[in-house]
């Protein structure tokens, strides 16, 4: 199969959906000639013109309100917030408006919009540009949360997100836009709520998503050479969560490690632990182990920055500590 970059997969998803449905349009900062901060939209302005590739002022609330209002009136906007850190400027629109409108209006209105953004550390851009805030969205009823790790997944899931009738928070990772991976030429979509066993194994289950999935796979690879068999499960969508796949894997391996780049305290990882505790306590041979970000903002210095988020070694150590 041909291999394309993660960001190309994003672009292909947009093109296919924009061609499929004239109601789909893009908005956000620097998405015009600039093509977006990570150049995922390169060429789309030229292709679709400024009405469908809406380059906006630096007005995060109006960007998301722009998406919500358009969604309420028949369009399917894909709004980009350049960094998930900047969502902090518009949480009202996300949480009090987009997430709740359908509920509050007794299902009278729907908000079929996608909020595309990216997060995570690893590029030395420090505390206000490196956060992993998925735990916030995960906590809010009414939001779907998608965090694809591979070109294949990002394409199939973005297409599904655009077709969804309710708001989807679509979080990419800043370090993986140039990663290449197999993506079929033919059209496909990936349903929400279906985890992908990225690697089968029998000794321990590793639950990981986004950039951390790649570290988990690298760890599993290395551990395999030492004779340790890890099952690596990628939820792909945190909401809806494929609880069954997770529990089934735990029932098989009886051991679970949850890996997440986000600050551990109050994280999705803690919640995954809690879910497994609820549903598969008796199958656990050892307490579930979280391997997460330190309880710290992300520093500039590379050495410190690296120390703040899980490494392949941390994951390997956690696996070994469990056996």
């Amino acid at each position: 199969m041909r291999e394309i970059e993660y960001r190309e997969a994003i672009k292909e998803a947009c093109i296919e959906e924009m061609d499929r449905n004239p109601k789909v349009f893009l908005l956000g900062e620097d998405i015009g000639v600039y093509g977006g901060a990570f150049r995922a939209y390169k060429g789309l302005l030229e292709k679709y013109g400024p009405e469908r590739v809406v380059n906006t002022p630096i007005s995060e609330q109006a960007i998301l309100g722009g998406a919500i209002g358009a969604a309420l009136t028949g369009y399917r906007p894909v709004a980009e917030i350049m960094f998930v850190d900047f969502c902090t400027l518009a949480m009202d629109q996300i949480v009090n408006q987009a997430a709740k409108i359908n509920f509050m209006t007794g299902d009278a209105l729907h908000v079929p919009m996608v909020l595309r953004t990216q997060g995570g550390s690893g590029t030395g851009i420090a505390a206000q540009h490196s956060q992993s805030l998925e735990s916030w969205f995960y906590h809010i009823p009414g939001l779907k949360v998608v965090m694809p790790a591979t070109p294949y997944d990002v394409k199939g899931l973005l297409k599904t997100a655009i077709r969804d009738n309710d708001p989807v928070i679509f979080i990419e990772h800043k370090t993986i836009y140039l990663n290449k991976g197999p993506v079929p030429e033919e059209e496909y979509t990936i349903p929400f709520g279906v985890a992908d066993i990225k690697r089968e194994g029998s000794d321990v289950t590793i639950f990981a998503y986004s950039a951390m999935l790649l570290k988990a796979l690298a760890a599993a690879e290395e551990l395999a050479r030492e004779g340790i068999s890890c099952e690596v499960i990628d939820p792909r969508t945190l909401v809806p969560l494929d609880t069954d796949a997770l529990i089934n894997s735990v029932k098989k391996t009886n051991k679970l490690i949850v890996v997440s780049e986000a600050v551990e305290r109050g994280s999705v990882a803690s919640d995954i632990l809690a879910i497994v505790n609820d549903k598969a306590f008796d199958f656990l041979d050892a307490p579930v182990k979280r391997v997460c970000g330190l309880n710290s903002a992300i520093p500039y210095n590379s050495k410190l920055e690296k120390a703040c988020v899980p490494t392949k070694e941390n994951i390997m150590q956690a696996v070994k500590g469990m056996l």
Partner: protein, 323 residues
């Protein structure tokens, strides 16, 4: 006032009366604890909503605020569904989930009230984008208060709408107070209409106690918007006759201020007297109209009273969708 037909004038008077009577009744039922939570009566401000909505076509949109009953009724909302919602019943606009602050009606293009001050401002941008993309000449009116005019969302929405020349009519209902905060002390420069200049768009004041003045001001802005010239900002000078909510004695207002307003700037009393003087309507016809309105409100109360509470099971099923 030449071009405003007698029928239209009577319709305006009728709508004003509808809102007044409806709101009086909600206050009553609030005091009887049939309605609870937050209720923000629109009494005294009716001419703003009515003048504004009369300048719209049915397919045009409005977006509203926490003080939203007047806007809904002016756009044609159903008394039964409104009252049932306020009574928390399953037959209400929001199936009892939303209450006073979340009434929306897709068929009427009423995109929703809002519990967040200024929450509708960013959303108006999106509705404006969609009106513009659709190219059917639709427009949207965005209502908000003097308090909201100091929030960042005001700025982002007006700027972005102006940048894209969106067909949005921004109507600031300056009723002099935001809860206890007087606009003279919170609106720097004390001239909301003047803020339009900062966005290069038309801005003007209109007498919010005069439905004809409101109609004419809004009609001008609607016309301007339909022609593709972009947004306008209208500052409607109005006054909240009651407290912020039914339990607020509004002690923060100078003595006599409310009494003066009620005496001199009562949009219902003044317009009714004018139409009688102009022989558009007789005192008897007005009484007749009023009675008919009261009857419809009685019916709405009965409908609300007799409607079932939402079923817990169904609600829980709905909740499960979020998982």
């Amino acid at each position: 006032m030449g071009k405003i037909s007698k029928e239209m004038q009577i319709e305006m008077l009728k709508k004003i009366t509808e809102i007044r009577r409806f709101e009086e009744r909600t206050v009553q039922y609030y005091q009887k604890s049939k309605i609870w939570g937050y209720l923000h009566p629109y009494i005294g401000e009716e001419a703003v909503a009515v003048g504004a909505c009369m300048a719209l076509k049915k397919e045009d949109y409005i977006i509203s605020t926490h003080r939203g009953h007047g806007h809904a009724i002016a756009k044609g909302a159903d008394f039964n569904k409104m009252m049932a919602e306020l009574f928390g019943k399953s037959t209400g606009y929001c199936k009892g989930r939303g209450g006073s602050m979340h009434i929306a009606d897709t068929e009427l293009g009423m995109l929703g009230a809002n519990g967040i001050v200024g929450g509708g401002l960013p959303i108006s941008v999106g509705a404006g984008l969609s009106c513009k993309m659709e190219k059917k000449g639709r427009v949207i009116i965005c209502f908000f208060g003097d308090g909201a005019a100091n929030n960042g969302v005001f700025h982002e929405a007006l700027n972005m709408s102006a940048v894209f020349k969106l067909p949005v009519i921004y109507i600031c209902e300056n009723n002099l107070y935001a809860i206890s905060m007087c606009a003279r002390e919170s609106v720097a420069g004390n001239d909301i209409a003047a803020r339009a200049k900062g966005y290069g768009i038309p801005g003007y004041k209109a007498d919010g106690s005069d439905v004809i003045a409101m109609y004419e001001a809004v009609e001008k802005a609607v016309d301007y918007a339909r022609k593709g010239n972009g947004p306008s900002l209208i500052e409607a000078e109005t006054y909240r006759f009651l407290g912020h909510h039914p339990n607020d004695p509004a002690l923060y207002r100078p003595k006599g201020e409310a009494e003066d307003e009620k005496k001199n700037r009562d949009c219902l009393k003044n317009f009714k007297e004018k139409l009688i003087e102009d022989k558009v309507i007789t005192e008897e016809q007005f009484s007749e109209m009023e009675k008919e309105i009261e009857k419809r409100i009685d019916a709405a109360v009965e409908f609300a009273e007799n409607s079932p509470e939402p079923e817990l099971d169904k609600f829980l099923e709905r909740v499960a969708i979020n998982q």
